[in-house]
């Protein structure tokens, strides 16, 4: 408890993971202070999503530690880490497609409040849950879609539901894996606006390919290349780093081509 006063929101020490012979994470260190705005960049296949999976507990590391508020959570399963305040969004939507937007968010609210253990309906308590979920949706301008099944929403709005689910967890650490991926550029600002206006107390790690977005949003940037942190610094330092230009910025123009 004393540790949580001073310890960073999230700290990763020497995290490593192999897939067979392929080292996808090599001794990665990373610190997110409370309220951090940190970007993780790197070419395709650098291991960015893998790092998120290691932090959240989807994957077990072969070495290294993950600390949340100074507590070692490396041994904890995914759900336990989530309940301790880590939330993430997925590069490719992971939603409850057959359920409405509101039901999607209610599921996340119910897990956070512990309502999900309740095995009988309660009009009053269910109403409180629905109101909270609606407030969450309203904050993301999704309230109008509350009753639409997720699978019937356009992709861009589904990406907002991704974020709504993560925010409904009231996280202290939020990992955003390419939140605007797959969204037409005309609509991506809707998502990036949401990202820009996140609660300043939440420590945010964002994976993003659009350098304009990264430089505008992040106060610190880590560059991941072939599973290792090549360098870390402020946006100015990263912009000025010739190695970064060589491995990443130089090829960013034809990255999707």
């Amino acid at each position: 408890m004393i540790a949580s006063m001073t310890a960073p929101a999230l700290e990763i020490r020497g995290l490593a993971r192999n897939f067979g012979a392929l080292a996808v994470a090599r001794h990665i260190d990373l610190v997110l202070e409370r309220g951090a705005r940190h970007a993780l960049i790197g070419p395709n296949g650098a291991g960015k999503t893998t790092l998120v999976n290691l932090i959240t507990g989807v994957l077990k590391p072969s070495a290294g530690r993950v600390l949340l508020d100074g507590d070692d959570v490396t041994g904890l399963p995914q759900a336990a880490r989530a309940r301790r305040g880590i939330a993430r969004t997925f590069q490719i939507n992971q939603l409850f497609r057959g359920l409405t937007v509101l039901e999607n968010v209610c599921l996340a609210v119910a897990e956070r409040t512990g309502a999900a253990r309740r095995m009988f309906p309660s009009v009053r308590r269910d109403a409180a849950m629905i109101d909270e979920a609606l407030a969450q949706l309203d904050g993301l301008r999704l309230a109008g879609d509350a009753l639409v099944p997720v699978r019937e929403l356009p992709y861009g709005r589904q990406r907002l539901v991704e974020i709504a689910l993560a925010l409904a967890q009231r996280p202290r650490v939020l990992l955003l894996d390419e939140p605007a991926a797959g969204v037409p550029s005309a609509e991506s600002h809707l998502i990036l606006d949401v990202v820009a206006s996140l609660d300043p107390d939440i420590a945010v790690l964002i994976i993003e390919h659009d350098m304009d977005v990264v430089f505008r949003f992040a106060r610190r940037i880590s560059v991941l290349v072939a599973g290792a942190v090549m360098t870390e610094g402020t946006p100015e330092e990263i912009r000025a780093d010739p190695r970064v230009r060589a491995v990443y910025l130089g090829e960013s123009g034809d990255r999707h081509g």
């Binding site: 309940r83 599921l107 309740r118 269910d126």
Partner: protein, 335 residues
């Protein structure tokens, strides 16, 4: 968004989600039909109580398959444990009171569900299918080996149970058995219904829809499934106990593969994840079986095969799914 819009959306949303929990008029239909059948077919009540028992069995399966998305071919194990619990209590210990028998059966089957679930629920898909199937075979063989206690393949014939509530004695026409089975089915339906509309029940649907996301929003998925599996096993145990009560005998055939497969077919026919699919599926399956098998058993097997094919190809949501779709189309034109 304007304030009035927000209020309208909120009100609509509340109503929408409350609608999950609110009783609909159509939910009275199965019970009306069941009560009407009592008066219309006074000479078929023994068959009728078999239908009600299977409806309860299918209901128990719906909790795990329809809601949580766990595919199992071993639910007969819990049905059988329930049947043998009351059978053995009556035959060996002279414990013949039916309602406490039901509780004992629920406890034993639920315990077996919890115990086996700890291991089995770590698996999904084909592995789980094979594991649940073989567990049931092993139980059956177990019953055969300990035939001094269980009666082996001859089972426990000629069981007699005390009157229900100490008053209603079983009669030759099966009137008591029918009403008793109906009452138990009704109570279990109410219980299952409360569970599936509760936040717990919704989280099971979440696991079915996207297990990975449930992990990531902090749901203890294994624990949730284990609770659902245990409740489901207990309900299947009650169905098995009812089976023993209403037939006054038990044999090891309760553990047959056909029992596990039959209940699965009923549920798929009726529609999974809808509660009442269990009821209508059992009715349609059993009535068809009864009438087609009169011609020849082969006729029935071909008939149910064909019906299943039609269902999974053209009506994945079963009979109730078709009814719901028709209802939506009818309402589509109106307000």
């Amino acid at each position: 968004m304007a304030a009035t819009d927000e209020i309208a959306v909120a009100a609509r949303a509340r109503r929408f989600l409350a609608a999950h929990a609110r009783l609909r008029p159509t939910e009275a239909l199965p019970w009306l039909v069941a009560v009407a059948a009592f008066f219309v077919f006074p000479d078929r009540l023994t068959f009728g109580s078999q239908v009600l028992v299977m409806a309860l069995f299918a209901l128990s399966l719906d909790l795990v398959l329809g809601y949580a998305g766990i595919l199992t071919l071993g639910h007969a194990a819990f049905f059988g444990i329930g049947a043998y619990t009351v059978g053995l209590l009556a035959a060996r210990l002279d414990w013949t009171e039916p309602l406490t028998g039901l509780l004992a059966a629920a406890t034993c089957a639920g315990f077996a569900g919890a115990l086996s679930g700890v291991v089995l629920l770590r698996y999904r898909g084909l592995t789980l299918l094979v594991l649940t199937l073989s567990t049931t075979f092993i139980l059956q063989e177990f019953g055969n080996v300990f035939d001094r206690v269980t009666g082996g393949y001859d089972g426990l014939p000629g069981l007699s149970f005390s009157p229900v509530l100490g008053v209603f004695d079983y009669d030759l026409f099966g009137r008591t058995a029918y009403l008793y089975a109906l009452a138990v089915l009704f109570v279990c339906f109410c219980l299952a219904r409360a569970i599936v509309v509760s936040p717990f029940g919704r989280s099971l649907v979440g696991i079915r829809e996207n297990t990975a996301r449930m992990h990531s929003i902090g749901a203890p998925v294994h624990g949730r499934l284990l609770v659902a599996y245990t409740v489901s096993a207990a309900l299947a145990g009650v169905a098995g106990a009812l089976h023993a009560h209403t037939n006054a005998f038990v044999t090891l055939s309760v553990f047959d593969f056909e029992n596990s497969a039959g209940v699965l077919v009923m549920l798929i026919l009726g529609g999974t994840g809808r509660l009442y699919g269990a009821f209508w599926g059992a009715v349609v399956y059993m009535v068809l079986q009864d009438s087609l098998a009169k011609f020849s058993p082969a006729f029935w097997q071909a008939g149910v095969g064909l019906l299943l094919i039609v269902t999974v190809l053209f009506a994945r949501a079963g009979i109730l799914g078709l009814v719901e779709a028709a209802g939506r189309r009818l309402r589509g034109g109106g307000p």
